[in-house]
Symmetry: C2
Subunit: 82 residues, 2 copies
C-alpha cells in the first residue's frame, strides 16, 4: 500500500480570486504583514501498486486525467510506503 | 519575507464527499488499485515578519482564525525564507 500526497496549485500567471479574497480577509483581521495568498487543492490517495515507480506512474496519470486542469494548474506529489 | 505552505485536511473521522466522488471517478477511469481519497485545501502565504518564530506564530493564528474550521479540520504548515 502506498500513500500519495498531491498538491495542485494554480500556475503563477493565473488569477486566483479565492486567494485575493482570503488575503483581504487576513488584512482586515489585522495580519497586515501578509503580501500574497495563493489557494490550491490537496489530496491524499492510498493505492495498491507493485512498487514505488508503479505508484508514481499511476498518480501522475491520475493528475493528468482527473485531478488537475493542465491549462491553468500545476501539480507535485510525494509517494511513501503506508 | 517568508513563504508559508499550509495544508488543511479533514479530520480522519469526518466524512469527505468530494474524496468519495473522486475515488469513484478514478476507479471508473481504470485506477482499480485506489483504496481511498481524502481531499483538502492548500495555501501559499507570503508575509513579512521579524523572524521565523514570528512568522510561524502569525500563520498559526491565521489558521485558527480564518483558514480552518477547527471542529472538522486539522492543519500543518512549513515556513521558509523567501
Amino acid at each position: 500500500m502506498w500513500l500519495a500526497k498531491v498538491i495542485v496549485s494554480l500556475k503563477p500567471v493565473v488569477n486566483d480570486p479565492p486567494g485575493i479574497t482570503i488575503h483581504g480577509a487576513l488584512r482586515t483581521l489585522g495580519f497586515t504583514g501578509v503580501q500574497s495568498v495563493r489557494s490550491g487543492k490537496y489530496f491524499e490517495i492510498r493505492l495498491d501498486a507493485d512498487d514505488e515507480a508503479a505508484a508514481r506512474q499511476q498518480i501522475d496519470a491520475m493528475c493528468k486525467q482527473l485531478l488537475t486542469n493542465p491549462v491553468i494548474e500545476e501539480y507535485r506529489f510525494t509517494v511513501e510506503h503506508a
